[in-house]
C-alpha cells in the first residue's frame, strides 16, 4: 500500500463521514475545529479507519488523532 494510497483512502472516509468537500480535507484540518465534527463523530471516524485498514487504534492513540494529518501519519505507522 503506497503512502499516497493511504492518504486517499483516509480522505475518502473523512468526506463520507463528515459530509465535507474533499478540498477542505487538508494536512492540518482539525476534524472538530475545521470539519464540523463533534466528539461522537470523531469516535465514529476512528472506527471507520480501523475497519478500512484492518487495524486496531487504541483509545489513547485515538485521542491524539485530531487532524487529517494526524490520522494519515498514525495509519502509515500502523499498517
Amino acid at each position: 500500500m503506497s503512502e499516497g494510497d493511504i492518504e486517499q483512502r483516509v480522505r475518502k472516509k473523512v468526506v463520507e463521514h463528515l459530509g465535507v468537500e474533499e478540498d477542505k480535507v487538508t494536512e492540518n484540518a482539525s476534524f472538530i475545529d475545521d470539519l464540523g465534527a463533534d466528539s461522537l463523530d470523531t469516535v465514529e471516524l476512528v472506527m471507520a479507519f480501523e475497519e478500512e485498514f484492518g487495524i486496531e487504534i487504541p483509545d489513547d492513540a485515538a485521542e491524539t488523532i485530531q487532524t487529517f494529518g494526524d490520522a494519515v501519519s498514525y495509519i502509515k505507522g500502523a499498517v
Binding site: 463521514h17 463528515l18 459530509g19 461522537l40 469516535v43 465514529e44 472506527m47 480501523e50 475497519e51 486496531e56
Partner: protein, 420 residues
C-alpha cells in the same frame, strides 16, 4: 385554568407524508396496507404491513432528505427521522420559528414512542455477535433512545422549555398530547410540540407481535382488506409506522399572534386496567373510566359528544371498546359516529394516538367523520354509527379520541371547535 388550542399539525403516515395528503386519502377510504417491501418478510407469520410510501417527495411520498441531512440520518433510527419530519411540518404550519430567546424558554417538546429504536437495537446486537463490541456506533444509543425526538427538535429550533417524553405503548401519542396540554394549563410552558413516532415494521417487530398473537395473519393475498375493525372477519391488527406531531398553544397567546386555531383540547382522561399485560378486561371499565375522567375534566356532558375516533385495532378488543363507549353514551349513542382510522393507516403503536388526534381535529375542521373501511359485517349490537365504508358528513363540535396500550394503560382526549 389556561386554555390550550391546536395551532399546528404534521404527519408522516402509511398513506402519505403530509397532513392534507393523508387526510384526503383517509376521506377517500384508501388503505395503506401492502406486502412488506422494506425487508424480506416471506418467512414471517405476517407478510404485510402499512409502510411509509417512500419516493422523491412528490405526490405525498416521503423523501428522507427533505427532512434530515443524509449525514444526520445515518445517526438516528427511523422513528426519529419520522418524528423530525412530522415536527418540522407542524412547526411550519403553526408559523413558529422566529421567537425571542425568552419566548423559546416557554416552548417545550414531549414526543414519545412505544418502542423506540427497535431495529437499531436488533441490528447492533447482531453486529456485536458478528464483529465484537468495538464496532458499536457511538450514535447507537442517542439514535435509539425514545426521548431523542424531543431532544433533536429542541436542538434544531432552540426550544428550551420542558423537554420530556412518553412511553405508554399504544397510548403514547395521546398521553403526550394530554400531558403537554397539562403543562401549558399549569403554566410550565406556553407552547408544546407534542406527539409520537414509531418504526417497528422490521423483522424483530413483526416476529414479536406475531408471538403475542396480536397481528393479522390471514390476509397475505389481500393486505388492503386485513385491517377491518369491528368486522366479523377481523383477525388482528396490521402494523403501521410513522409519526404525528401537534403544536399546542396557550389560547390567549395563539389569539394574540393571529394564529390559525384548529381546535381546543378541552379534556384529558387517564386510567389503568390492573388486569392483564396485553388484554383488556371483558367490559373494559378502565376505558370507560378514562372517558368519564376526560368528560369531567372538560366539564361537558356525554350528550355533547359527536364523534369518537376509536382505538379500534381490528382485534377482539374492538367490540369490547364499542361496549364501553355505548355504555358511556347511553341513549345518546345512536346520535354519535365512531370510526377507526386504523382500518386505513394500520396501527402506528406509539404514534397512533397522535395521528388520530390529528384526524379528530380535521374531523372538527371539515365537519366530516372519516370512514371505517373493510367493515362488511358489523357487530349485531352496534347502536352507534360506525361509518362503515364511507365518510359521514355531519356536525362535529366535540370529538373524543381513545387510545389503549399494553400493560392496561388508557388515555382519552376530548377536542372541541373553538368557542370564544
Amino acid at each position: 385554568m389556561r386554555r390550550v388550542v391546536i395551532t399546528g399539525l404534521g404527519m408522516v403516515t402509511p398513506l402519505a407524508c403530509g397532513v392534507e395528503e393523508t387526510w384526503s386519502r383517509i376521506l377517500a377510504g384508501e388503505s395503506g396496507a401492502d406486502t412488506i417491501k422494506g425487508f424480506d418478510a416471506s418467512h414471517l407469520a405476517t407478510t404485510y404491513a402499512c409502510e411509509i410510501p417512500r419516493g422523491d417527495g412528490t405526490n405525498g411520498t416521503f423523501n428522507p432528505n427533505d427532512w434530515m441531512d443524509p449525514k444526520e440520518q445515518r445517526k438516528v433510527d427511523q422513528f426519529i427521522l419520522y418524528g423530525m419530519a412530522a415536527a418540522q411540518q407542524a412547526i411550519a404550519d403553526a408559523g413558529l420559528g422566529d421567537e425571542s430567546d425568552e419566548e423559546k424558554e416557554r416552548i417545550g417538546c414531549i414526543i414519545g414512542s412505544g418502542i423506540g429504536g427497535l431495529e437499531s437495537i436488533a441490528n447492533t446486537a447482531l453486529l456485536i455477535r458478528e464483529k465484537g463490541p468495538r464496532r458499536v456506533s457511538p450514535f447507537f444509543i442517542p439514535g435509539s433512545l425514545i426521548n431523542l425526538i424531543s431532544g433533536q427538535v429542541s436542538i434544531r429550533y432552540g426550544f428550551k422549555g420542558p423537554n420530556h417524553s412518553v412511553v405508554t405503548a399504544c397510548s403514547t401519542g395521546a398521553h403526550a398530547i394530554g400531558d403537554a396540554s397539562r403543562l401549558i394549563q399549569h403554566g410550565d410552558a406556553d407552547v408544546m410540540i407534542a406527539g409520537g413516532a414509531e418504526s417497528a415494521v422490521c423483522e424483530i417487530g413483526i416476529a414479536g407481535f406475531n408471538a403475542c398473537k396480536a397481528l393479522s395473519t390471514k390476509y397475505g393475498d389481500n393486505p388492503k382488506a386485513a385491517s377491518r375493525p369491528w368486522d366479523a372477519d377481523r383477525d388482528g391488527f396490521v402494523m403501521g409506522e410513522g409519526s404525528g406531531i401537534l403544536v399546542l398553544e396557550e389560547y390567549e397567546r395563539a389569539k394574540a399572534r393571529g394564529a390559525k386555531i384548529y381546535a381546543e383540547v378541552i379534556g384529558y382522561g387517564l386510567s389503568g386496567d390492573a388486569h392483564h399485560i396485553t388484554a383488556p378486561p371483558p367490559d373494559h371499565e378502565g376505558a370507560e373510566r378514562a372517558m368519564r375522567a376526560a368528560i369531567r375534566h372538560a366539564g361537558i356532558d356525554v350528550s355533547d359528544i359527536d364523534y369518537v375516533n376509536a382505538h379500534g385495532t381490528s382485534t377482539m378488543a374492538d367490540t369490547i371498546e364499542m361496549g364501553a363507549v355505548q355504555r358511556l353514551l347511553g341513549d345518546h349513542a345512536a346520535k354519535v359516529t365512531m370510526s377507526s382510522t386504523k382500518s386505513m393507516t394500520g396501527h402506528l403503536l406509539g404514534a397512533a394516538g397522535a395521528i388520530e388526534a390529528i384526524f379528530s381535529t380535521l374531523a372538527i375542521r371539515d365537519q366530516v367523520a372519516p370512514p371505517t373501511i373493510n367493515l362488511d359485517t358489523p357487530p349485531e349490537d352496534a347502536v352507534i354509527d360506525l361509518a362503515a365504508n364511507g365518510k359521514v358528513e355531519r356536525e362535529i363540535d366535540v370529538a373524543l379520541s381513545n387510545s389503549f396500550g399494553f400493560g392496561g394503560t388508557n388515555a382519552v382526549l376530548l377536542l372541541r371547535r373553538v368557542h370564544d
